[in-house]
């Protein structure tokens, strides 16, 4: 049943299917993918994976999945999602992963744009969404589902359960074997491998088309930099629709032969992380922030000796740990003390967090709080930042072991050329840049210059030593009426360094002052309120408490003091602020599925509040709006208080700290 591998071996691994076959012959018994299911980690070796992929490919082909056709994936990282992706690639089909928490309406446009003929859906919930769209997507002819729970009554002819598909494939395998083999051999690196839909932070989402060659090139480049090989282990826990996840958990194992592990469920992530002990990790800053918060609360609840030891070790670690990791010289006494802290604090903490074996951990997707970065490096975890966009095949810059600096995202990754346009826009050229926007040659032309440079839409600068610094999205940049250049992100990042602030939205472009909306972190502010013996009934009540306003006011005053210390930024001090009554939530359309702000939507939804802030009023009424199922909404009526922030003279910086 296995596809004969010897014939493919001579060819270079220019497609994922060829790489899979070459691994299967090189390391038949090495683990390719593990999945925790019903309490046990179950393993598929490269040989088993390749056999299963061959069967699924045969069955999908019999069910009409053609070369160049699109297959949509909606589901979490599970073994079966992975095998169907491999099978689709073996047939030369194009994978289109979508965010599994997207609503049916959000899935409509990708399904229609790609004219997808096949869908892989994780469970009943996802199948229901697809079935709902079926009348408007006549091209869909086959829906494969993984979990059969609740699926007994479904009689739609398009539906087929994964085990049934596998059986079909095994039955037709005799006949299908050569066909599948031929399909793999026909593929080249120029074939389209995947379409990723952009997060939609900037208007409607676009389909970004990537070839096998581009994704493999990026994965190879990253693997080379960190010396990844078949002994590495990674955990797949981010949405498969995010290109970063796809590169780390799909492309990377295909290139290096490393093992990928699927956690049992989203809720068991941290315990699964500890059980697996990955050597390689990618996560958005929020995951690392959650880890720091977990450690903080556990230490708070521990005995006095542990607390004293922890504080001493962490302050030492913060000055020494990062330097040790970077191989920089350290005073011998500190080095010895740091060595003593290893078995006492650093080692146990790394173990509890599941980071004992991590050789390289990366964070991307949003700017990380420098405190968090320092925390992990103090523990001896090699946490680094990288930068990339969906269009650039993700890896553009990566911090190197010896030069990790907060505020910078590192120099260009191997094979990437960086440059900055006269308007300070960052331009990228590499083999990993996307092929085109799906069915949108005009947008493609605007984004890619004739000589292959991609306009990232990000404003930034490159230092003499090649370190890249990102400031903001070009379209979010503006100027205050007095001419001071204004980028909302630099202010929001500073605000989000406070554990009490979950999200912040800064306004200022074309206005006379800077005003912000603050989305407090209900858990930490709630915990703070409990300690202060402030009683409250819930989030909405919490946001109206004067004590909470004072707390947020302090956070803002601190940020203003920091801004005042910098001559260029002193004019950007926050003048007024308001605390949002409800959380910013992707389900309300104000965030993207990767939790990035959708500024135009937020400005629209909270218009009465923003207008009131600039009119100098002290209250604003928000009214709940309902614009149908797919429009953004304000959750409930609320009377919001607007407050003035404490500001500082550019010179008056000492007293504020």
């Amino acid at each position: 049943m296995a596809i004969e591998t010897s014939k493919v071996e001579q060819q270079t691994g220019d497609t994922f299917a060829k790489l899979l076959l070459s691994h299967a012959s090189k390391w038949p018994d090495r683990a390719a993918i593990r999945e925790k299911s019903r309490g046990i980690w179950r393993t598929l070796t490269w040989q088993e994976l390749s056999n299963e992929v061959a069967a699924i490919a045969a069955a999908l082909q019999a069910r009409g999945l053609a070369r160049g056709a699109h297959i949509v994936f909606v589901g979490d990282n599970r073994m079966r999602l992975h095998t169907v992706m491999c099978a689709a690639h073996a047939l030369g089909a194009v994978i289109v992963p979508l965010f599994q928490d997207a609503t049916a309406e959000e899935m409509l446009s990708p399904l229609q744009m790609t004219q997808a003929s096949h869908v892989f859906a994780e469970d009943q919930e996802q199948v229901d969404k697809i079935l709902q769209l079926l009348p408007r997507c006549p091209a869909v002819r086959c829906i494969v589902y993984d979990s059969d729970r609740g699926m007994r009554h479904y009689e739609q002819p398009q539906l087929i359960a994964y085990p049934a598909l596998l059986n079909e494939g095994r039955e037709t395998a005799g006949a299908g074997r050569d066909v599948t083999f031929n399909e793999v051999a026909r593929g080249t690196g120029h074939d389209v491998a995947a379409v990723f839909f952009t997060s939609g932070a900037a208007g409607p989402s676009k389909g970004v088309v990537h070839t096998h060659g581009a994704l493999i090139d990026r994965a190879r480049s990253a693997a080379k930099m960190d010396g990844l090989d078949e002994t590495d282990v990674a955990l797949a826990f981010l949405p498969p629709a995010w290109i970063g996840q796809n590169l780390f958990a799909y492309a990377q194992p295909m290139v290096t032969g490393s093992c990928i592990c699927c956690p049992e469920s989203a809720d068991t992530l941290f315990s699964d992380l500890r059980e697996i002990g990955p050597t390689y990790l990618l996560a958005p800053p929020s995951v690392f922030e959650a880890m720091v918060a977990r450690v903080g609360s556990r230490i708070d609840g521990s005995g006095p000796i542990t607390r004293v030891l922890y504080r001493a070790c962490m302050s030492l670690g913060k000055s020494v740990g990062g330097r040790v990791l970077s191989g920089q010289p350290v005073f011998i006494g500190s080095r010895l003390m740091y060595g003593v802290g290893g078995p006492l604090i650093y080692g146990p903490l790394r173990d509890v967090l599941g980071l004992s074996r991590v050789r390289a951990a990366y964070t991307s997707g949003d700017a990380i709080n420098p405190e968090v970065l320092t925390f992990f490096r103090a523990l001896g975890v090699n946490l680094k930042q990288l930068y990339g966009t969906t269009e650039t095949g993700f890896f553009v810059t990566m911090q190197r072991d010896e030069a990790v600096e907060p505020g910078f995202v590192g120099p260009a990754a191997p094979g990437v050329e960086l440059s900055v346009s006269p308007a300070n826009e960052i331009l990228v050229r590499s083999a990993g840049v996307f092929k085109e926007y799906l069915h949108d040659p005009k947008a493609t032309e605007q984004a890619k210059t004739a000589d292959g440079w991609f306009r990232t839409g990000d404003v930034g600068s490159i230092r003499a030593d090649g370190q890249l610094k990102i400031v903001d999205r070009i379209k979010d940049m503006g100027t205050l009426t007095n001419g001071t250049p204004f980028g909302p992100k630099q202010i929001e990042i500073k605000l989000k360094q406070s554990p009490h602030v979950r999200e912040a939205v800064a306004f200022g472009g074309g206005r006379d002052t800077v005003c912000v909306l603050v989305d407090i972190d209900t858990a930490t502010v709630g915990g703070w309120a409990n300690k202060q013996r402030i009683s409250y009934t819930g989030r909405a009540d919490l946001t109206t408490r004067p004590e909470v306003h004072a707390l947020v006011g302090e956070v803002i005053a601190k940020v203003n003091a920091e801004l005042a210390a910098d001559r260029q930024l002193a004019g950007l001090q926050i003048a007024r602020f308001a605390v949002l009554p409800n959380e910013l939530d992707a389900d309300d359309g104000v965030l993207t599925r990767m939790r990035k702000l959708r500024r135009d939507v937020i400005a629209d939804v909270y218009r009465p509040l923003v207008d009131a802030m600039y009119l100098g009023q002290h209250r604003a009424m928000l009214q709940s709006t309902d614009r149908g199922s797919d429009g953004p909404t304000v959750v409930a009526d609320a009377d919001v208080v607007i407050l003035d922030a404490r500001t500082f003279q550019a010179s008056q910086t000492k007293s504020a700290a």
Binding site: S37, D128, H153, E155
Partner: protein, 271 residues
Amino acid sequence: MMDMTPFSTSTRGFAIGEPILELKDISLRFGGVNALTKISFDVREHEVRAIIGPNGAGKSSMLNVINGVYRPQEGSIIYKGQRLSGMTPPRAARMGIARTFQNIALFKGMTVLDNLMAGRYLHTNANFLEVALQMPRARREETRNREAVEEIIEFLEVQQIRKTPVARLPYGLQKRVELGRALAAEPKILLLDEPMAGMNIEEKQDMCRFILDVNDHYGTTVVLIEHDMGVVMDISDRVVVLDYGKKIGDGTPDEVRSNQDVINAYLGVAH
């Protein structure tokens, strides 16, 4: 979203079958108090049967009669065509009748996993010595029981609390674990005593979904007592209404809802 699912009772996993449990003229007295008076109804295989009624109507007594906690002075219970007498809770359990309690009855200091494993007691044949010495039969059984329990853990989506002591869990989750403990015995009939009491709306919705899923996936016959009329009407196939120990209504939710006696009992009537 719920109403968009192409789910209807006509296409359920297991079609409702013949009566599996019949109660005939059951009367239960405590001294001079008539807790139940001549109550008759039946429970069909694979159905969700609710017993409702105001406080003190005799609902919990009815459940306790079914699984042998109380022995009625009059009347008979027929289970799978067989007339039962001298019913006791252990006997009921062995016959495939499992239950949950109004006030949660779990081992609070034990983990979720251990509580569910305890629910597998009936499926353990190895004796004390075999288990203590880890003899082959005991180990085989342990493995089989753990597999069954892991299936329930996945089914009830409690993977993340597998190793958490029950006492540390919020109330709604404890209720779910108790349902799991009852399911671990692989019962034919599941008796649920106010499974949704004290829950918030979200927890109630979750619990409803799990009860329907259990019925649909395992074909388990469910008999439940519930205060919340809305919940009962949504998930039950048929409803028995008790008031002051007497049966005042029996039928589909719609029939019961339009029954004048039931309306009077619930809303009160001018005397």
